[in-house]
C-alpha cells in the first residue's frame, strides 16, 4: 500500500500554509485598527471564520451520523469521528479566542453572555462525543450510539442558540466594517476553511489506513500485496 501524500495533497497543504501566512501579514500590515475597541478587535478576523467553520464541521458530523444510521456502513462512522474531532478543535479555538477577547474588552475572563455561553455549550456537546466513543468497546455499538448522539447534538444547536438569547446581552458587539476590514475578513475565511476541510479529510483517511494496516497484520499476509494508492492527504 502506498500511502505517500499525493501531489494534490502536498499542493493543498502548501497553499493552506501560504494563505495563512499571507492573511497574517494582512492582519498586521493592511487591516486598519477599529476605533472603539482598539487593536484587540483584530481577533474578530480569526474568530468569525473559525466560528463558521465550527458549524460546518459540526454539520459534516451530523450528515455522517445520519448517514450511518441510514446505511450502517462504517465509513460514515469514520467520517463522523473525524469531523467530530475537528469540531472540538475549532470550537476550542473559538472559545479561547472569545475568552481572550472578552478579557481584554470587559476585564473578566468569563461572563455568561449569550455568545460565550453558546460557545461553551457547543464545546461541551462535542467534547462529550469524543469522550463517549472510547467508552464503548463494540465497534457497531459505538457507531450507533455515536451516530445517535451526534445527530442529537446538532439538532440541539438551534435550541441552544434560542435558549441563550434569553440571557440579557450586556455587551452588544456589532461593529461597522470598513472596506479593508471586509476584505481581511473574507481573506481569513480561505485558510481557515482549507484547514477545516483538510484536517477532516486527513484524519478520516489516516484512521482508515491505520485500521486497514492493523487488519492487514492480523491476517498475516507477508507478501507485498497489490499496490493501492491510498491517495493520502497529509
Amino acid at each position: 500500500m502506498n500511502t505517500k501524500p499525493s501531489l494534490l495533497a502536498r499542493g493543498y497543504w502548501l497553499a493552506t500554509i501560504a494563505f495563512f501566512v499571507a492573511t497574517t501579514i494582512m492582519l498586521v500590515a493592511y487591516t486598519p485598527v477599529e476605533q472603539s475597541m482598539g487593536r484587540v478587535q483584530k481577533i474578530f478576523y480569526i474568530h468569525l471564520p473559525v466560528a463558521i467553520n465550527t458549524f460546518v464541521a459540526a454539520f459534516v458530523m451530523f450528515i455522517a451520523s445520519v448517514g450511518y444510521l441510514w446505511q450502517r456502513r462504517l465509513w460514515w462512522d469514520d467520517l463522523a469521528a473525524a469531523a467530530g474531532k475537528v469540531t472540538v478543535l475549532f470550537c476550542s479555538v473559538l472559545l479561547l479566542t472569545g475568552i481572550l477577547w472578552g478579557r481584554s474588552a470587559w476585564g473578566q475572563w468569563w461572563t455568561w453572555s449569550p455568545r460565550l455561553t453558546f460557545s461553551l455549550v457547543l464545546w461541551l456537546l462535542y467534547v462529550v462525543y469524543l469522550v463517549l466513543r472510547p467508552a464503548i468497546e463494540s465497534p457497531q455499538r459505538r457507531a450507533i450510539v455515536s451516530a445517535l448522539y451526534g445527530s442529537a447534538a446538532f439538532l440541539d444547536v438551534p435550541l441552544v442558540y434560542f435558549s441563550v438569547k434569553l440571557i440579557e446581552d450586556i455587551h452588544p458587539s456589532s461593529i461597522a466594517l470598513a472596506p479593508e476590514m471586509k476584505v481581511t475578513l473574507l481573506a481569513w475565511f480561505v485558510p481557515v476553511t482549507l484547514l477545516m476541510a483538510g484536517l477532516i479529510t486527513a484524519r478520516y483517511k489516516l484512521d482508515r489506513v491505520i485500521r486497514a494496516t492493523e487488519q492487514h497484520h492480523d491476517l498475516d499476509l507477508t507478501q507485498t500485496s497489490t499496490v493501492r494508492r491510498m491517495g493520502g492527504a497529509v
Binding site: 500500500m1 502506498n2 500511502t3 505517500k4 501524500p5 497543504w13 495563512f20 497574517t24 475597541m37 482598539g38 487593536r39 484587540v40 478587535q41 483584530k42 481577533i43 480569526i46 474568530h47 473559525v50 475537528v86 478543535l89 475549532f90 476550542s92 479555538v93 479561547l96 479566542t97 481572550l100 477577547w101 478579557r103 481584554s104 474588552a105 481557515v192 484547514l195 483538510g198 484536517l199 486527513a202 484524519r203 489516516l206 489506513v209 491505520i210 494496516t213 507485498t224 493520502g232 497529509v234
Partner: protein, 41 residues
C-alpha cells in the same frame, strides 16, 4: 502599545498552536504509517 495587544497575540498564538498543532499531529501519524509501509516492502 495598546493594552489589548497581549490578548491579540495570545489569541493568534492559541489559534496557530491548536490548528497547526493538530495538523502536525496528523502529519506525524502519516509519516509513521509511511515508515511502516517502507519497512514491509
Amino acid at each position: 502599545m495598546n493594552n489589548g495587544d497581549p490578548y491579540l497575540i495570545g489569541a493568534y498564538v492559541v489559534s496557530v498552536v491548536l490548528l497547526w498543532g493538530y495538523a502536525a499531529v496528523l502529519w506525524v501519524g502519516w509519516r509513521s504509517i509511511n515508515r511502516r509501509q517502507r519497512h514491509e516492502s
